[in-house]
């Protein structure tokens, strides 16, 4: 529709804000990543070399990778399991609310909730943390869930993420699952397929594109994961992740060059998903 040149009036405030808070800072951060801690000396790729070789960063990369595999597997897997099973019970909506609820609260609150679950006290004291109370009741010794490195504590943090995000996967996959024509499932059953075969040969292929969307969303979250780690361990005992390293380089070590380089690495890892997003949008537009 032609409305003359007034469109710029409508767009101006948005363009100004996007320019000031997203586009200019992104470009500036790329520039700063080639400068020293105080942004005054050009150092070439030195920050990147440090980012890819220093011990704390290597641990952070390893942890993000662990998050990527375990977190994604569990959120998507349990989301799918719940989507399929909940379709068969009558109290579906209640359970869905319970599982989705953690999406509403902050990661900080989630962190406090789970720090309490993981609370550790010496074997002589009564255990007030649920998990150690169970361990002790079963005859074991209390475990420092956030201290035992490298597997126990990292998995304990990842569990918090899974607790928050499984509901998201469940809701999206459930909507897609309900879109499978009932006749298709019935036909497979009449042909003698058992529930497992139906799941493998009808449900999974039908949900493939939704599974891809959910999985990419989880990966994008994992790359940027920050709050949970910041609140629960602040990266202590080898639990650090990339985003928390960036924050610490910025606020505790005032190394703006290295912090910028870490941000750029994060950005580069996310670019493929940015491209996917834009592509998906163009495909939608073409259908319109």
């Amino acid at each position: 529709m032609n409305m003359g040149r007034v469109h710029w009036l409508y767009l101006a405030p948005a363009l100004l804000m996007l320019g000031l808070f997203l586009i200019y800072p992104t470009a500036e951060t790329v520039r700063l990543s080639f400068y020293g801690p105080r942004s005054d000396v050009f150092v070439g790729f030195q920050n990147y070399v440090q980012a890819f070789t220093s011990q704390p960063m290597l641990i952070a990369f390893r942890n993000n990778l662990l998050w990527l595999v375990v977190f994604t597997l569990f959120t998507v897997g349990m989301g799918l399991l719940l989507a399929v099973l909940l379709d068969r019970v009558r109290y579906e909506t209640v359970i869905k609310s319970v599982i989705f609820l953690p999406m509403a609260i902050s990661y900080v609150a989630a962190g406090v909730i789970w720090r309490f679950v993981y609370t550790f006290r010496p074997a002589v004291a009564p255990q007030i943390g649920l998990l150690n109370a169970i361990v002790v009741a079963l005859g074991g010794n209390p475990i420092g869930w956030l201290i035992e490195r490298p597997w126990v504590n990292n998995l304990a943090l990842i569990a918090v993420g899974v607790w928050v995000w499984t509901g998201f996967c469940m809701v999206i996959l459930s909507a897609a699952y309900k879109g499978i024509p009932k006749e298709m499932l019935e036909a497979a059953r009449i042909d003698g397929a058992n529930e497992w075969q139906v799941f493998l040969h009808v449900t999974i292929p039908f949900l493939k594109s939704t599974l891809a969307v959910v999985t990419t969303t989880m990966i994008v979250f994992v790359l940027k994961v920050f709050d949970i780690v910041y609140v629960m361990t602040n990266g202590a005992y080898d639990t650090d992740v990339i985003a928390n390293r960036m924050y610490n380089e910025m606020f505790y070590f005032y190394n703006y060059g290295l912090a910028s380089a870490i941000a750029v690495i994060l950005f580069l890892a996310i670019i493929p998903f940015l491209v996917i997003n834009v592509r998906r949008f163009r495909a939608q537009e073409a259908v319109r």
Binding site: M1, N2, M3, R5, V6, H7, Y10, L11, A14, L15, L18, F21, L22, I23, Y24, P25, T26, E28, L32, M78, L85, R88, V89, V94, S97, I99, L101, M103, A104, I105, S106, Y107, V108, A109, V112, I113, R115, F116, V117, P126, Q127, I128, L130, W163, T166, V171, L223, K224, F226, D227, V231, A243, M250, F251, A263, F267, I270, F273, L274, N277
Partner: protein
């Protein structure tokens, strides 16, 4: 007999589903129960023992009184509103104007602009922190509410524009044609036609932005600098974790204070809430 066999066959399904739901609910339940127990009880026995004998247990509101009045959570509660409400309104207003132009006005570069906006949704905030903080320091905006309003608006805009533009673009063309024939200006059409017709999507978008800002830690941490005077709930709560890490009677109450508003929104506006969350999952 058949009913029983049916039930038995379904038993594993019920078992798995109910077990998972119980696992999901228990941590929050523990938090809620503990926040009402006196300090010495909380340290002497697990919260589940109090559930076993609810009438023999001493329940108290003292933890809440202390975190609200003496540990800064009351002030933080207010700050969270001061940060969240203006941000949501400003973001929605600016996004609606831009989305209207992107949906219904023809101009060169429109497609490119849209694609840029969509690309910006997933930009990690980390890419912007240092330059924006320097800008704020130069303008004396760091540590102030207007600074956080502006930053959150900038970060929230791409997603809001995208959501609103999709909805505006799906409105029927004839609506606008007849309005313009009747002599309406583009702005009148925006105010009188587009906005009233878009209430559901505006609600979803507003709820998403509200909760995102309410639950945000990083942006407030960086631009407000953690001063108690301006700290929102998330920052104050994480400060308490640092300073009072083992005082569970306070941490549980403080965490619950920070959760009340999101929980009310969740239970009263669940439909809009879910829609908003699903649309916004990729946001930086």
């Amino acid at each position: 007999m058949r009913r029983w066999r049916q039930l038995l066959k379904r038993l594993p399904v019920h078992l798995v589903v109910i077990t998972l739901a119980a696992i999901w609910l228990t941590p929050s339940l523990g938090l809620l129960v503990s926040s009402f127990r006196p300090r010495q009880d909380l340290l002497a026995s697990g919260w589940w023992t109090a559930l076993g004998r609810p009438f023999a247990t001493q329940w108290t509101l003292a933890n809440y009184r202390q975190v609200l009045l003496r540990e800064g959570m009351g002030r933080a509660f207010l700050n969270s509103f001061i940060i969240t409400v203006p941000t949501t309104l400003i973001t929605l207003g600016i996004a609606a104007l831009a989305a209207y132009a992107l949906a219904w006005m023809n101009f060169r570069g429109r497609q490119l602009l849209l694609m840029t906006v969509i690309g910006l949704i997933v930009i990690p905030l980390q890419m912007t922190l240092i330059p924006v903080l320097r800008m704020f320091n130069a303008l004396k905006l760091s540590g102030t509410f207007p600074g956080v309003w502006l930053a959150h608006t900038g970060y929230g805009l791409p997603l809001m524009i995208y959501l609103l533009r999709n909805f505006f673009g799906a409105l029927p063309r004839e609506l606008f044609e007849s309005a313009f024939i009747d002599g309406a200006s583009p702005f009148t059409a925006f105010l009188r036609l587009v906005l009233p017709l878009s209430v559901p999507v505006l609600a979803s978008a507003a709820i998403f932005q509200f909760l995102w800002v309410w639950n945000d830690l990083l942006v407030s941490l960086v631009y407000l600098g953690g001063f108690a005077r301006v700290a929102p709930l998330t920052v104050q709560l994480s400060n308490l974790v640092g300073s009072r890490g083992q005082d569970w009677h306070l941490l549980t109450a403080a965490a619950f204070v920070s959760m009340i508003v999101p929980m009310i929104v969740f239970f009263s506006l669940q439909r809009y809430f879910v829609r908003g969350i699903l649309a916004g999952a990729l946001k930086g």
